[in-house]
């Protein structure tokens, strides 16, 4: 089974996020990038499928700061091939990123056809759209999102996938292949790969590169960000101060007032 995984780097929110001088974009110099969490799960799911059914896992990512580390890690985890798309200005909207990836998939030999395309269900910077449905739209493939499990047979004609709803309810779907799935979480947490192995792969592994296409209409900029700022602290909690016992007493007073006690 040939699985293609699309990875995207997003800002690491543990670090302070600075707004650029124009007040409408993130200061990318200051931001530290990391692999989008659900993309990591997509990769894990792809590797699990490879373990069960054989085949290959190909990883595609757009160039971004620290993407090399993510790609070498993917190789160390067991991906067969990693491809980096270079030549686009950062930062990219998700629409632009999806269009660029699909163009490369179509024009670069040996990337398509894939039996299954996996990417994260949603990223923290997907302001103008989600990667998975956009890729499905461009490649004219079926799509389903919020996936937490994928099973397929050797013939790779259909996949049985599990999708999460709310309230703990899940749905089991039959999806014809090839298809695009937005992975919420893999069947087990993304595997650990020791630092020594990643370092070894950095010496022996190879990241292929592909040139990004020239985007005809200057991107699909149908929306404009006017401003980017820290959210207003609308209201905010009234802090009950003091040692635990004191604060607890105050809270009891509030609860009594509100008829909870």
């Amino acid at each position: 089974m040939n699985v293609l995984v699309i990875l995207k780097m997003v800002p690491d929110v543990v670090e302070e996020l600075e707004v650029a001088e124009n007040g409408a974009a993130l200061d990318v110099e200051a931001a530290r990038m990391m692999l989008s969490e659900s993309d990591d799960h997509a990769l894990e799911e792809a590797l699990l499928l490879k373990e069960r059914l054989g085949g290959k896992v190909t990883v595609v990512a757009l160039d971004a700061p620290d993407v090399d580390e993510a790609l070498y890690t993917a190789l160390a985890k067991g991906a067969d091939r990693v491809v980096k798309i270079e030549g686009l200005d950062q930062p990219l909207t998700t629409s632009l990123a999806a269009a660029a990836v699909c163009e490369v998939l179509r024009t670069q030999p040996d990337l398509l056809p894939a039996d299954l395309i996996l990417t994260g269900a949603q990223a923290i910077d997907d302001l103008d759209g989600l990667m998975a449905p956009l890729v499905a739209h461009h490649l004219r493939l079926p799509y389903l999102g919020v996936i937490t499990g994928v099973a397929a047979d050797e013939a790779a004609k259909f996949a049985t996938v599990v999708k999460e709803y709310s309230g703990g309810v899940r749905g089991e779907f039959e999806v014809p292949l090839p298809a695009v799935l937005g992975v919420q979480s893999a069947e087990r947490p993304p595997r650990y790969v020791p630092v020594a192995k990643i370092r070894a792969v950095m010496k022996t592994g190879r990241i292929e590169t592909a040139a990004a296409p020239v985007m005809a209409d200057g991107g699909l900029a149908l929306t404009e960000v006017l401003a980017l700022n820290k959210p207003e602290e609308a209201g905010g909690a009234e802090i009950l101060s003091g040692a635990p016992e004191e604060a607890a007493g105050k809270l009891c007073g509030v609860l009594a007032e509100r008829g909870v006690l």
Binding site: V14, E15, P189, Y192, P194, K197
Partner: protein
């Protein structure tokens, strides 16, 4: 006396009987030993014969003088006696055997020399007395985890027969009785020899080698490797521990994991290693849940009288689990955060200096200016709000003593000590490289830290490119400052407290007295817990365990047992000199309901209370 080798035994020429018995015995013994040697030869190599002079000294101290063992009440002395009895009897046995096998030799039998005969008699009596002590200890006051196995009982009986047969022969008057006693003695020893490699008593032969080939630097860390899972992937010295194990149970009795109910038994590890060498098991020494239970406190190795090295085996197996990615959730999370952020909290690097906010004294940036003391603060001391007050207290003390100090600020990374002990060598190297590079750019004369884990790594395990600054623990520095009069006591503490020796400061590095002297200098009366100094009982945080979750229901966590031990002294203060101890014991006091009865205080906080104008 008549030559016992002359004549017949049960119709067979005695001389021939001796030859047959000897060949049989040596054959069995030799083949078995040879099999062990072959297994060790196919194991991974390891150099343990460097510094032969130092090794010889250890041999004399610990094999001949039994320095470590002799301190134990009753059994220590008994064992020393049995050892020397054995040496004596072994020597005379070979003497007599050679004489018996080659009657043509112009050699008397050993006991025919009056002085030797006398010594043999004395050792027989002393030996039997010692044996009685050992037997009473084994069968009446059986220590926990000492198994009253058939093997052990047989050994006791054999030794008793060896000694008493000699004595009987010496005291007997009839020639026949003497002859019988001689043969009983010889056959018993030959039988013992043949049986030896199959018995736990192999430690007789193996332990002296264990001592000679010990790790000269006690870190419990094997040389860098990919880890081990199968027998031949361990080094010969690691496997050798199994052979030298006398199955006494001391390691289990001192192991905080075992005592708390975690699925780890250092004694079982030794037994499985022994079986692996014997080819009796597939080589699987311990399951993952046992391996991850280890706190790397080294109490097992400290207590082991045969100088066995339990910890390297565990580390090798942990390394293999890490290589295979078999790391469970919480640990994986911590390792990932360490790699990404340089600390296990997942806090950004810039938050590392937050503890200095609101601090009334300056903390210089050693990256920007030269300092005399480079203070490696450590993760817990920097990030954990429960520890930050003591970090601030130390800064105030250093300032009051006019110490020229600075930190690496945001450039500091976790020292990597615990990542290494969790089996992640690669991560340790990354952290070490970053720290060493940052430190190399500074100008300083000393490195100080309040964190024993960092202290150990910086002092003993880091590779420095040019030169190696001396590393001090803050207790050592405080002792020095107080000694030089740079800190004076304004408000002596008064009252009693107890002090917990951190594993990485005490057992790993031998620093026991500096913290005690500091505590005494500030006016406290230090009451000692039963498990003190080398016997200190680990708080349970080491080896990466502070990052792991308990997957089994334990009886009582090590920290909980320890605070109970402290409280039982009747003191109201438990002094610590390690940030993780502070955190572990504070939690344990809550969960054991000792709040209000016992307090944990960090050394710097206590000294600050006593010495600063304003606390």
């Amino acid at each position: 006396m008549h030559d016992p080798v002359a004549g017949t035994i049960a119709g067979v020429p005695a001389f021939l009987a001796l030859w047959v018995a000897t060949l049989l015995s040596l054959g069995l013994f030799g083949s078995r030993i040879w099999r062990y040697v072959k297994v060790l030869k196919t194991a991974r190599p390891e150099v343990r014969w460097d510094h032969p002079g130092a090794r010889l000294r250890l041999f004399i101290e610990h094999v001949l003088l039994q320095k470590k063992f002799v301190r134990e009440p009753w059994i220590g002395l008994a064992h020393l006696v049995l050892f020397w009895s054995f040496v004596c009897y072994a020597t005379t046995f070979w003497w007599n055997l050679i004489r018996g096998l080659f009657p043509a030799l112009p050699l008397p039998y050993a006991e025919q020399i009056p002085a030797i005969g006398k010594w043999l008699e004395i050792f027989a009596v002393l030996g039997l007395a010692a044996l009685a002590v050992a037997a009473v200890r084994r069968y009446v006051f059986t220590p926990e985890r000492l198994v009253r196995s058939a093997d052990a009982s047989l050994i006791l009986v054999l030794i008793a027969v060896v000694l008493s047969s000699y004595l009987a022969g010496a005291l007997a008057t009839s020639a026949d009785a003497k002859r019988i006693a001689w043969w009983v003695h010889m056959f018993t020893v030959l039988g013992f020899l043949a049986y030896l490699p199959y018995s736990k008593h192999l430690h007789l032969l193996a332990a002296p080698f264990s001592v000679f080939f010990t790790a000269l630097q006690r870190t419990g860390m094997p040389a860098p490797s990919d880890g081990a899972a199968r027998r031949e992937e361990f080094t010969w010295r690691q496997l050798f521990s199994g052979l030298a194990c006398a199955e006494c149970g001391r390691c289990d009795r001192s192991c905080p994991a075992f005592q708390s109910g975690y699925p780890l038994s250092p004694k079982d590890l030794m037994e499985h290693t022994k079986r692996a060498v014997r080819g009796e098991n597939g080589g699987a020494l311990l399951p993952p849940e046992a391996l991850w239970s280890c706190m790397t406190c080294m109490a097992c190795m400290e207590r082991c009288m045969c100088f066995n090295e339990h910890l390297p085996l565990i580390i090798e197996m942990r390394r293999r689990l890490v290589v295979e990615g078999q790391v469970d959730g919480a640990l994986q999370d911590a390792l990932t955060k360490l790699n990404r952020y340089g600390n296990s909290f997942g806090s950004p690097a810039r938050a590392r200096t937050k503890w200095t906010q609101g601090l009334s004294v300056p903390v210089r940036d050693a990256r920007k200016e030269a300092v005399e003391y480079l203070w490696f603060v450590g993760d817990y001391a920097s990030f954990d709000p429960r520890v930050q007050p003591s970090t601030r207290a130390l800064a105030k003390l250093l300032n009051a003593a006019k110490v020229d100090f600075g930190t690496l600020a945001e450039a500091e990374q976790n020292s990597g000590n615990d990542a290494r002990r969790a089996g992640e060598e690669g991560l340790f190297e990354v952290l070490m490289e970053k720290n060493a590079a940052a430190i190399a750019k500074t100008r300083h004369r000393w490195i100080i830290t309040s964190d024993p884990h960092s202290y150990h790594a910086l002092k003993n395990e880091y590779h420095w490119t040019n030169g190696h600054s001396p590393v001090l623990h803050h207790s050592e520095l405080l002792e020095r400052l107080m000694g030089e009069g740079r800190l004076s006591v304004r408000r002596p503490l008064r009252g009693a407290l107890t002090y917990h020796d951190p594993c990485y400061l005490g057992r790993y590095n031998g620093v026991y007295d500096a913290p005690r002297r500091v505590l005494t200098a500030i006016g406290a009366r230090v009451e000692e817990m039963p498990r003190r100094r080398e016997q200190s009982y680990c708080c349970g945080a080491g080896g990466g365990r502070i990052w792991m979750e308990d997957t089994v229901k334990v009886r009582e966590r090590p920290a909980e047992a320890r605070v109970r031990e402290a409280a039982s002294l009747g003191v109201d203060c438990l002094a610590v000199s390690c940030p993780k101890d502070l955190v572990m014991f504070q939690d344990a006091i809550k969960t054991t309901g000792l709040e209000g009865r016992l307090q944990v205080r960090e050394l710097a906080e206590l000294v600050a209370e006593a010495c600063l104008a304003e606390a």
